[in-house]
Each structure stands twice: as structure tokens, then as C-alpha cells.
Amino acid sequence: MANEKVLFESSTQDKKARRLEDIPLIRFSPGEKVVCVQRRHKIVLIGPLLLPIIGAFMLLFASMFIIQILPPEATASFLNPTIFAYIIILSTSLVLLLEAFNFMTWYYQFYIITNRALLHRHFFTIGGFYSDVVFLDEVHQQQITRHPPNFICDFLKVQDVNVYFHKLEREEPFIFQTPSNAQEIEDLLQDLTIKHGINRGPT
């Protein structure tokens, strides 16, 4: 489990793996410190990575099948091997682009828990910057639930964590979608809720 929170050892200048909590992903207010940083579970990568490859193969087979069933006169220009070679090269390039895009969308997306806030940040975005922040000093946590989004995630013990607040403070729950360690997040949120409750004192 600890390995999931370690970065890829990708940089030749930085051979030592660093924890995600040690990286300054957000700006801190005085007294704020990071409790937990997680990415989404690796299982969510399988679909987006396999889909472009499967789609490209299906299109290739479909086009070959169509060329087989059409009369030769209709496909005279399309049977040119130059066009086939071009289509394969361009399709490969686009598939690689989609794979890189899907991977980086996962790689630069974080759930961050500090002692004062819950954050969901996308750093790899094409149009703009995505951030969802809930300040724990301002809202009261009502309920924390964990449930798997589908039976495959249930089988692999991968769960969503939903945090519900007072309806007047925040209607929609803050959702940790398939984080890499849902149990850790739930435990930390329970601790934070208890601490905030103690700090506020009896009402």
C-alpha cells in the first residue's frame, strides 16, 4: 500500500522516490499541514487505456471487411497501399496520443486531505484548472460512507468514499472516487471530524 503513494522514479536527477505528501501541491494557510495525498486507484486506468487500442483494431478490421465485400471498381482508389500505410501510421499516432492523455489525466489528479480542508485537484487539464475544496472549519461533516461503484471494484476491494455535510452548507457530497486506499481516507476523516468536534466544543 505504501508503494502506491510513492512517485514513479522517472527523473534521472531525482533517483530517490518521494512521497506525495512531501510535494507542495497546494498553498498552505498558517497552521495547515497535509495529512494524506492519494491518486485514484490504478484500476481506473484499464478502461481508458484499452479502449483506444481496441477501437483502432475494430476500425481496422471493419475497414478491411468492407473493402472485401465491396466490388473492386468501387475500391480501386482505396486499395492503394500508400493510403493504407498512411492510415495505419496516423491511427497509431492518434492512439498513442489518447493513451498519453488518459494516463496523464490520472497521473496529475490528486485527492488531498489537510487538517483544515478536503481538496480534489486536476493539474493536467486542456481547458482551465479544476479544483474542488471543502474547508472543514466552515462545514460540518454529517456522514462518511464507503461503497464500491461496481461489482469488479467490489471484488478488488476498491471503494468510493462519500462525505456528506449539512444540506444548508453543501448539498452535494464530497466524493473520493476510487482512491488508492479508501480505508485510510475514512480513518483520517473520522479523526479529523473528532478533532474538529473537540475544537468547536459543545454547542
Binding site: 512517485l7 514513479f8 522517472s10 527523473s11 534521472t12 531525482d14 510535494i23 507542495p24 501541491l25 482508389s77 492503394n80 500508400t82 493510403i83 500505410a85 498512411y86 501510421i89 496516423l90 497509431t92 499516432s93 492518434l94 498513442l96 496520443l97 493513451e99 498519453a100 492523455f101 494516463f103 496523464m104 497521473y107 496529475y108 493539474f123 493536467f124 487539464t125 486542456i126
Partner: protein
């Protein structure tokens, strides 16, 4: 047939150009995310992007040099 082959050629040029633009956008967004988070892009991913970019350039050169 001349119109068809010309249409095909220019359509492929546009498609290759569009692929190159998409690559430029994704590379820019990746660099921005890497700079903002101080997390470097994984080396295998750089290789994938480089390979795809080279294939996109090659497809453009291919369609310009070889008349489909």
C-alpha cells in the same frame, strides 16, 4: 479521379496537421502540470509522446511526398 485523389490528399494533410496540433496542446498541458506540481513526467510517457509525435510528422511528410 483527379478530384478524388486531390481531395484525399488534402484531407490527409489536414488530418496530419490536426494530429500535430493536438500533440502540441497535450505536450503544453503536460509541461504545465509538471511545472505546477513539481512532479516530472514519467520517462516512458515522454517516449510514448515522442514516438507519437514523430509518427504524426512522418504521416504529414508521407502524404506530401507520396501522392495517394
Amino acid at each position: 479521379m483527379d478530384f478524388l485523389s486531390g481531395f484525399i490528399k488534402y484531407f490527409f494533410i489536414l488530418a496530419s496537421g490536426f494530429a500535430l496540433i493536438l500533440y502540441a496542446i497535450v505536450i503544453y498541458a503536460a509541461r504545465r502540470a509538471s511545472l505546477r506540481t513539481k512532479i516530472p513526467i514519467p520517462s516512458f510517457l515522454k517516449q510514448v509522446i515522442a514516438l507519437g509525435f514523430i509518427l504524426a510528422i512522418f504521416s504529414l511528410v508521407f502524404v506530401l511526398l507520396f501522392q495517394p
